[in-house]
Symmetry: C2
Amino acid sequence: MFTECVPNSITSLATADIRFPTSASLDGSDAMNRDPDYSAAYVVLGTDASDGLEGHALAFTIGRGNDVQVAAIEALRGHIVGRDIEELLDDMGATWRLLVHDSQLRWLGPEKGVMHMAIGAVINALWDLKAKRAALPLWQLLARMTPEELADLVDYRYLSDALTRDEAVALLETTAAGRAEREAIILREGYPAYTTTPGWLGYSDEKLARLCREAIADGYPQIKLKVGANLADDVRRMRIARQVCGPDFPIAIDANQRWDVATAIEWIGVLSEFRPAWVEEPTSPDDVLGHAAIARAVAPIPVATGEHAQNRVIVKQFLQAGGLQVLQIDAARVGGVNENIAHLLLAAKFGVRVCPHAGGVGLCEAVQHLSMFDFVAVSGTMEDRLIEFVDHLHEHFVVPTVVAGGRYLAPTAPGAGMEMHAASIESYRHPVPVPA
Amino acid sequence: MFTECVPNSITSLATADIRFPTSASLDGSDAMNRDPDYSAAYVVLGTDASDGLEGHALAFTIGRGNDVQVAAIEALRGHIVGRDIEELLDDMGATWRLLVHDSQLRWLGPEKGVMHMAIGAVINALWDLKAKRAALPLWQLLARMTPEELADLVDYRYLSDALTRDEAVALLETTAAGRAEREAIILREGYPAYTTTPGWLGYSDEKLARLCREAIADGYPQIKLKVGANLADDVRRMRIARQVCGPDFPIAIDANQRWDVATAIEWIGVLSEFRPAWVEEPTSPDDVLGHAAIARAVAPIPVATGEHAQNRVIVKQFLQAGGLQVLQIDAARVGGVNENIAHLLLAAKFGVRVCPHAGGVGLCEAVQHLSMFDFVAVSGTMEDRLIEFVDHLHEHFVVPTVVAGGRYLAPTAPGAGMEMHAASIESYRHPVPVPA
């Protein structure tokens, strides 16, 4: 017995400020984000283990401020580097609390914005490492954990009025029996996708119509259009999309936080003629009560939000207040996989469907694992559920998303999905700002 | 006419990472913040104007992560440096929107956490510069603006279901008549303060009793005790404070976000025996509905919160839902003076009293301006209103807070109050972290 052997530990945390010049083409343009440069605050965790495996993840931003996001990840080095690998990975619930409840760092949120997204990136890098060490894709790693192990990943602080650990375990036990069967279904059939590609505001009417036709030909069961900049334009574009897609094809609309409550109700009222499949981000992502008022007014059109929901406390309230009917989790907005599992459990508890936000850089690659895990081990259903898909920047990823016939095909390579090619990291590394 | 003259412009944005080793003495210890090192992400705006005046402000943190906060302020350099001074200062409403609605930076929030606090620091530095150029203390500068000018400082996006510009103007007009009289009152009598000095968790019972006696002898009309770590300790400490202060002296309690909803109701139920003046931050600062549930259960004990309220959208909802009965604005948490004016107007609209959070580094120096302005030009009353006071680190400020007889004396020196002595900045500058 080698009592003096040094345990395997995390030996490095490396970051990169990666920016893609997407604003040049107006891909990704909407009513609030006119000129995004899709960017990644990238993190790599290295270890001294003989397997040579690394944990990769990123926080997604849209350009300016990506350096701040990188600085926030750097601020976590002291919490991670030098720690025992197994100790961190074997109790990811404790690891989450170690980072999120740091008594000084939490002042910068608490649990929101730059610092929380940085914690999410580090947590996701650890999940990537854990999945690689298990030689499993993340969705499968999670789907094979017991209800108790899964429940222990969640921090119930501030949640217990809506969800307790006991309730989480009971909920996970109801779908435990059919896991193997559903795992086989995912591997065989994948998970439904919808595409936002036709609907960016910067595109011409001709391009919109062409992309609508292509989306249907490609087998997508739903598309989404950006709205909210100009009502007459929205009416014209919705009419085009409705004509091209037919009267019953699901077309969601996304206002990207553009409206106040009264404006939202009025604007959606006009667009209701085109029977949108849902209306997304009608107002501030912080406005639980505002969303609830909008949802009541525009019913039966469902309200969708979540890509900017800062943490589980906000998601809890959205569900309590009826502020959303479609929960759009995001892989890089909150405190990583652990907090997204809390969101999946809350949604299951409240009987709300989850249709993740994706696109950006690496968000498709990451969030598909969460939806597939949800199907296998949490909600047990894919009914009325789809993952957003934008066919963009996937070539930079080691395990790129594969969508075929309007469905995400299950990734089978080990890891959590956000690892980028070394060449991409180097090619799109942002120049270090020169101090004034 | 010199048509080619270069307008006066902002020529520099300088930052400093300043940290005070306060954790050594357990000053500032509470149930969530066990070992704070009070810190400032400090910013100085320089100009090429012949007056040589600078704008100073800071974002307050409690240690780790102060470098991230500094990086966020640095990220705003391109928005400010090179701009015309008058253009920025003459329309501070537009300047606020310029920073807050940057289409790329807002992804990092939106309007919350590190990036929003950085914007607040830069906005407050501009207000400092504006007040110095007017040779007035900030409170007086604001109190002499017209209702229309004040209303134009506020961004009504996401507020209009609770407060419109017209309502803000009307509200400000109701107190416009008595402004001169109230300005004289403030200059003569100051503004009531309460002290948190006796109540830190790290102090012994003997120190608690002694500091309670001293607070009363010093003329404070209220004290506050930290609670939430251990119920038996809280009961013992409240009993000591009640015995020393007498049966009717107002003693507020502060749980610093420690509890879940059910725990809060139970714990406050036990402490209700000691008739707390208010219960502060019983749970997550994001949990509007949780606070509302607690407020209903513990009434008539008022619920106080706001020091971690991330923006006006959250404050709006707290008021709409009855989640707070005492609004504790903070000078360095949100988007600066402009957003705090939104909070003062919302509180006035909902008839809720404002008792600012202070302490930390420079928070007393800054927030007193907002309360004094509120008395002169917004609510028109000091009834049941007090500003928190902690006698700590004031010696580092050029215009230190002066509290006498339990009241903040009105600052008369020009500026917004957060300028530190150059020697203090240099002495407490944090070493630049060495990259790994």
